[in-house]
């Protein structure tokens, strides 16, 4: 079984495209409950340690006519798409839901959810939106302790520290393997098509980690043994795309277009594995600290204000990301992978990511890197996106970027 990468990729695709079957298989083997997480940023290790299967909900690709009765059409697709699936009963294979409060959609859609779906377990992570101060750290630690108790109550099982550390180690293994995969892509991007890479990485937030890690080990071993003829493709970085998987058809477009994505800061991508969690005597403390060490993103404020100093040079909470702004993080990724252009993807109507665009664009431009921001809606209408991207790629290839 799984003698070659095509078979492994087919398994990853099946996990992504047939999510209910993936969960049903897991339940048949383990007999536990499965929990949908929206958006990403739930401490999955706590759910796993209680014997639950955490599944990050990618949002679906179909039209959202059920949700249209209850939500305005200018709700972002990740929220609208998942709400629509819930109304259709297509998330009934999940026993509970965890909503991480990171934006207005996740707050309001999260608390509207039980109005329509009262019988499933639901839990809301009341996250701080500042990660720049010691009160935030204390508050977050307390919130994760509360979440642990809520999960224990739902699972009917106490979570021992050693079990939680075991889950942290398992998820760290996923992070380590994905980091190795990303390193391989940065150095030899021509080993991959964008479509294949999306299949491999996009399955990570969805699949049971035990199975995923085994498959990824095999996949990496085979890939490392391969040699690809160098292709002269335009090196791009994809950043953003919060709360959902990539727009359908986009990876295929990159593969046709003469461009290659060499790194990303996408949610169902590089951001998912970016921060390892320490295995230690205080696992909740370690999970708290890990959130403070996540790469900067528009959802959390990282600056500690100091009179007379602009935010950009104020001290920040993370040791690993001293600049603190998302724009600097995107610049670092682009420079670290020798990209010539950055594609910022946002779900249409998202409000937290796009307001950073002028800052990101200007920083990148100062470093000689081109950028474009595109909004997507998972509605199948990506003609305009393709046209704009094609022009962007041609502009870079002609040296005008």
């Amino acid at each position: 079984m799984y003698a070659n990468t095509a078979e492994i990729v087919a398994r990853f695709d099946r996990a992504r495209l047939e999510l209910p079957a993936t969960v049903a298989e897991w339940k048949a083997r383990h007999g536990g409950k499965a929990v949908g997480c929206f958006p990403m940023y739930a401490p999955e290790e706590i759910l796993h340690a209680a014997g639950l299967l955490p599944v990050n909900l990618p949002g679906g690709d179909r039209e959202t006519s059920f949700a249209a009765e209850h939500l305005w059409p200018f709700t972002c697709h990740p929220a609208r798409g998942n709400f629509d699936l819930m109304l259709r009963g297509e998330l009934d294979f999940l026993d509970g839901f965890v909503f991480a409060q990171v934006c207005e959609e996740s707050k309001k859609i999260g608390t509207a959810w039980p109005v329509y779906h009262p019988n499933a377990w639901h839990e809301h992570l009341r996250y701080p939106e500042r990660l720049d101060t010691s009160p935030s750290r204390d508050y977050l630690r307390q919130e994760l302790r509360r979440f642990r108790r809520a999960v224990e109550s739902f699972a009917g099982k106490d979570i021992a520290d050693h079990a939680l550390n075991g889950s942290i180690a398992l998820f760290n293994r996923t992070r380590e393997l994905l980091a190795a995969l990303y390193q391989l892509r940065r150095t030899t991007p021509d080993l991959f098509t964008c479509g294949e890479f999306e299949s491999v990485v996009g399955a990570a937030p969805i699949m049971p980690k035990e199975e995923y890690n085994d498959l990824l080990v095999r996949y990496l071993a085979i890939k490392r043994g391969q040699v690809a003829p160098p292709l002269d493709r335009t090196r791009l970085v994809v950043a953003g795309n919060p709360c959902e998987d990539l727009e359908p058809g986009l990876s295929a477009f990159f593969d046709e277009s003469g461009a290659v994505v060499v790194d990303d800061d996408a949610w169902f991508g590089g951001r998912y594995f970016a921060t390892p969690v320490a295995v230690c005597d205080d696992p909740i403390g370690a999970l708290t600290e890990a959130q403070f060490q996540t790469p900067p993103c528009p959802l959390r404020l990282r600056f500690r204000p100091v009179p007379g100093r602009p935010n950009e040079v104020a001290p920040v909470a993370s040791d690993h990301y001293p600049e603190g702004s998302w724009a600097h993080h995107v610049l670092r990724i682009a420079q670290g992978s020798s990209a010539r252009g950055v594609v910022l993807l946002i779900p249409k109507f998202c409000e937290l990511y796009p307001n950073h665009y002028p800052h990101v664009r200007d920083l990148l431009a100062d470093a000689g890197i081109a950028s474009i921001m595109l909004d997507t809606d998972h509605d199948g209408a990506i003609g305009q996106v393709r046209t704009r991207l094609q022009a962007f790629i041609e502009m870079i290839a002609e040296g005008q970027g």
Partner: protein
């Protein structure tokens, strides 16, 4: 009396309040004071205790929209690369900054020494952080977690503690910036602020009388700004007391705010500020009184009624978590039902502000629940708070007129 808008005399008497507020802001630097651009619900006594002058930044976009000068600023922001679906308050403000406020409703605004907002919504944090970036100054953000419906009293305590701890940090910031933080002044201004908001709450509750002596538009255009510009200042009490006295006179005389009150509705959502010349007249001409019972009108009471000068920071923290807009859907359904019953309403006018996710995200869920549980119908008007491109005046008029017809049929 014939249906139509009945203006309040007190509001004309208070007409100088805006210029006086502006002069305070404009003269601040000359007087050696620091200036903060703040969101209106930010705890003003904290800033007054540090002798900082507040420019109420979220009052600027409505003022620009009412004066018909919003469009060029919004377009300027979009030219600079800001996404057209972003909060139009923020877009307008950024566009105005990038235009050096040229053509704006109050001339050149003084540069802030810092920005300060609480987190009524996530976008506010982004808006004020971006203003700070554009000016190269720090942004002070008071993180006030959203409270889902299951939040227990103990969990709420933890949130209050979190906000309280941040306020202590903000006091340290202010002291470091200005070299002063006067706790006596904090208590004094809180007491004044509390008196003012109590008066404001009395005023909007007068709308429970039949007929109502005032509409929500009186509150939005004249009463609420007085509270926002003057919280913590004695003038707020003088101004608001005049309004209250006149309204009590109207109640005694059974005088309606719309001449002849035929229907009572609640105008819900953040308002379309550019249409507040036409919509009140349209509604009043049909004898429809939009009573001052909206979540928007009430959220200011949620913030400030808890203020207690004897335990200043803690009670400010409680107030900051009090806004109904940072509570779960079921909580807000109950709050809206309560208003419908207290004000004995015939219908809801739901204004959908396209770019205000704070108000629009579960607005339809809430409206449907209130309709289904209380049998009170609603009508939707699509628009935006200051981006008029999302508003179709003819369609809004047609929707409202057909809603009035349906209310007439129901009443027969």
């Amino acid at each position: 009396m014939k249906p139509g808008v009945q203006r309040l005399e007190a509001h004309s008497q208070n007409a100088g309040a805006f210029d006086a507020y502006l002069n305070r802001v404009r003269n601040a630097k000359d007087e050696g004071k620091h200036v903060a651009w703040v969101m209106a619900a930010t705890p003003s006594p904290l800033l007054l205790a540090a002798n900082v002058v507040m420019f109420i930044a979220d009052n600027y976009p409505p003022t620009a929209a009412q004066r018909g000068v919003a469009g060029p600023f919004i377009e300027r922001a979009e030219q600079a690369g800001y996404y057209p679906e972003l909060c139009s308050y923020a877009r307008l403000d950024w566009g105005s900054i990038l235009s050096d406020d040229a053509g704006g409703p109050m001339g050149k605004r003084p540069k802030p020494d810092f920005t300060y907002t609480s987190m009524l919504c996530s976008m506010l944090r982004q808006w004020f952080a971006e203003v700070a970036r554009l000016f190269g100054v720090p942004a002070l953000i008071l993180d006030t977690p959203f409270q889902p419906d299951e939040t227990t009293a103990e969990e709420r305590r933890a949130m209050i503690e979190y906000v309280h701890e941040q306020l202590k940090e903000h006091v340290a910031f202010l002291r470091q910036l200005t070299g002063t933080f006067d706790y006596n002044r904090l208590s004094e201004t809180m007491a004044l602020g509390k008196q003012a908001v109590d008066l404001y709450a009395d005023i909007i509750r007068l709308g429970r009388h039949k007929p109502s002596p005032l509409t929500v538009f009186d509150v939005l255009l004249s009463t609420l700004p007085l509270l926002l510009w003057y919280t913590g200042y004695p003038e707020a009490i003088t101004y608001l007391a005049k309004v209250k006295a006149e309204l009590e006179g109207r109640v005694a005389n059974k005088q309606s705010a719309v001449g002849e009150e035929r229907f009572r509705v609640l105008f819900e959502g953040i308002p379309p500020w550019y249409a507040l010349g036409t919509l009140p007249r349209l509604l009043a001409s049909h004898g429809v009184c939009s009573v001052p019972a909206s979540s928007y009108a009430y959220t200011w009471c949620d913030y400030w009624t808890s203020w207690d000068a004897s335990r200043p920071l803690e009670s400010i923290a409680e107030g900051q978590l009090g806004s109904r807009m940072i509570h779960g859907t079921k909580y807000r359904i109950e709050k809206l039902k309560q208003l419908v019953q207290e004000y004995d309403l015939d219908g809801l006018v739901m204004h959908v502000s396209r770019t205000c996710k704070l108000y629009n995200q579960d607005q339809l869920v809430v409206a449907r629940a209130v309709r289904d549980e209380l049998g009170v119908p609603f009508v939707v008007i699509e628009g935006d708070m200051v981006d008029q491109r999302f508003y179709d005046g003819e369609k809004a008029t047609a929707n409202l007129e057909s809603f009035v017809e349906s209310l007439e049929k129901r009443s027969h």
